[in-house]
Symmetry: C2
Subunit: 380 residues, 2 copies
């Protein structure tokens, strides 16, 4: 992807150079938990053209560590394309020749949208933990305001995996008339105890890092060690036992003395260290706290334990995709969503993809996944 | 177990009050990795009586966070019994009316056996990272010296789960003539990439805690935060998805504001915090580094990737037990051990227990497990 001509080659399926934009919402915004903002910014990108009827928009919802930059490059020197570049582009499954593809950094994020690392206009200082608690519903509410701002009444589709899948589910419930097709994948209608437990370990690592300072760290500062630990651990939950064996097995780097041995011996260790370190450079620790908490509080089963109570409002067609080796949000949790929709007489399908790549399967190029998405988006 | 009369009631199956002893090995001991000790101490306990033929000894091998205190209590005020008290006692599956049950804290440990927190007689200071790298083989070698010291030539059985199971496997290979029955459970013949990855995150949390100080912390000091994080994460891998849902689900404690929310909201979070904190009070961080490294380096498949090459020496009868919901050392990895033994024409059986309690299933009272162990130890 480092070859400029390839990146710019629209006939080769690339969206090429892209630029983000900011949507500035100037009215007060009250969060589900009761906290409020005097306004907010959502940073977003779009690929393809909105048609005259404004009926061809597809909203892409990102996962915990994702952002608005879903496809293309910002600069010809960029070594990395957007996080779903394999999926989005001219002729690709999410075809920018046909659709207007919209992708926004979530409210509470740290890639340009208003979040705990933004300046609170009321104090002139970073929000830090004064930022209101945000939920998946708040994130979706802010996305809805963006689509209204763009003059889009009804979305052709809402698509996302993991935390993005939760946003898709929330859209289905919250704005049933405004979604034609919904494509949640590698997700859950309710965060279970094990997933909460992993998030809690990550939060503990962050909050017990002395550099966290109660959340009041400055720009470029913060609990880098704790955030890297959190990311390393979480990264294991995004892969699979078999996938890790295939990729790393027990391959070693040279190390003999105790001090070196404990530091690094196996390649999988080196890989995880790298994942932790690079994450710290691009992600804010407080956003990690807010987003993992939004995940943990997500529960469409509600107090009655009946998913149907919430899904009863749904009007769109839904395709839920689960991945066989995903043990963070296993197939069962994805299947249950489609089953509840079917019990309600809704138009829903469940597809399970046999991949060894664990939870992250939805991010990886795979013909079967691409064919499923391409076909479903045609709305046939 | 807080009722003194019940604890002392041998007819009720309790070993009652027990005391540890120290075996002091005064000759030099060279480790597999080349490091050496001028001598070492193994702290151990025994339950039941060694018969005149010295043929009724069962060695219990403990897991990563275990110790020599496998059964009974040290004091009538003890609120907790030894870690396998459900299994060991008069009339229990490992029946102290019949067997002399021996349990030693592993070499490298922190509960009385020589380890990195012990004083190095050559310097008068704690070994810390000057302690030689120990392997499962070294741990077993030290156990062999203890049994020789006690005049036991041949063990009736060697029994252990998890890291204890690795020791059982090593005994089978290392001293084939000296083991009559072997009972490894919830274990593996080779630590795979995912298990190494989890250990690496734990080690990172410990070594990046500023209080670790390159391993040179004093008694009662050390990387308490990092060790607690490591333990919290590891603890999740000892349970199962379903087991955690059954035990905790999404039960909450009261918390509303962001700061409290991030601290603790769900019961599973509170449980994990407790596990982390209590571990720090009883375990040494450097031992955690040494033992997790011993786990990670354990690989009976060797360079040729053939488990049979190592197991060819085995002479004992073997029962391998796997647990259906164990995803740290899943059934497949346990089954493979029995299969390799059978391919070699050895006397081996594999049993799989359908438990929802994950890796820790072997530690929990369960009639099926107890019946299997009881029957197998009869050697029939």
């Amino acid at each position: 992807m480092n070859d400029a001509s390839a990146i710019l080659d629209a006939t080769g399926g690339e969206v090429g150079l892209v630029a983000w934009q900011d949507y500035v919402h100037t009215a007060p915004f009250t969060c589900e938990g009761g906290g409020a903002l005097t306004g907010f910014t959502l940073r977003y990108e779009s690929y393809g053209r909105l048609n005259a009827e404004r009926s061809n928009a597809i909203l892409i919802c990102h996962a915990l560590s994702g952002d608005h930059h879903a496809a293309g490059v910002h600069d010809l020197n960029d070594r990395k394309t957007g996080w779903w570049n394999t999926m989005i582009g001219p002729g690709k499954p999410i075809d920018t020749n046909e659709y207007f593809v919209l992708s926004a950094n979530c409210l509470g994020g740290c890639q340009g949208s208003t979040g705990p690392s933004s300046i609170n206009p009321e104090t002139g200082r970073r929000y830090s933990l004064d930022f209101p608690v945000v939920t998946i519903r708040d994130i979706v509410h802010a996305q809805k305001l963006l689509t209204e701002h763009l003059g889009i009444k009804r979305l052709h589709a809402v698509v996302g995996g993991s935390m993005g899948g939760m946003q898709v589910l929330q859209w289905m419930i919250e704005y049933p008339e405004d979604v034609r097709l919904a494509l949640p994948m590698a997700t859950t209608a309710r965060q279970n105890a094990q997933a909460i437990a992993f998030n809690e370990v990550g939060r503990s690592a962050i909050m017990q890092d002395p550099e966290w300072q109660g959340g009041d760290y400055g720009e470029g500062q913060g609990p880098h060690v704790g955030l890297a630990i959190a990311r390393m651990m979480a990264h294991i939950t995004y892969l699979s036992d078999r996938g890790m064996d295939d990729k790393f097995g027990r391959k070693r780097q040279a190390a003999e003395r105790a001090r070196e041995l404990f530091d690094i011996e196996f390649e999988v260790e080196s890989y995880l260290r790298y994942q932790g370190k690079s994450f710290v450079n691009r992600f804010d620790a407080n956003t990690y706290l807010y987003f993992t908490k939004a995940l943990d509080r997500f529960d469409l089963y509600g107090k009655n334990g009946r998913l149907e109570d919430q899904l009863d409002a749904v009007q769109c067609k839904t395709l839920v995709i689960g991945f066989k080796s995903d043990w963070l949000f296993p197939p069962k949790q994805n299947r249950e969503i489609a089953q509840a929709l079917l019990r309600l007489g809704k138009h829903a399908t469940y597809a399970e993809i046999d991949s060894d790549l664990g939870h992250d399967s939805f991010l990886v190029e795979a013909p079967e996944l691409e064919a499923l998405i391409r076909l479903f988006l045609k709305g046939s």
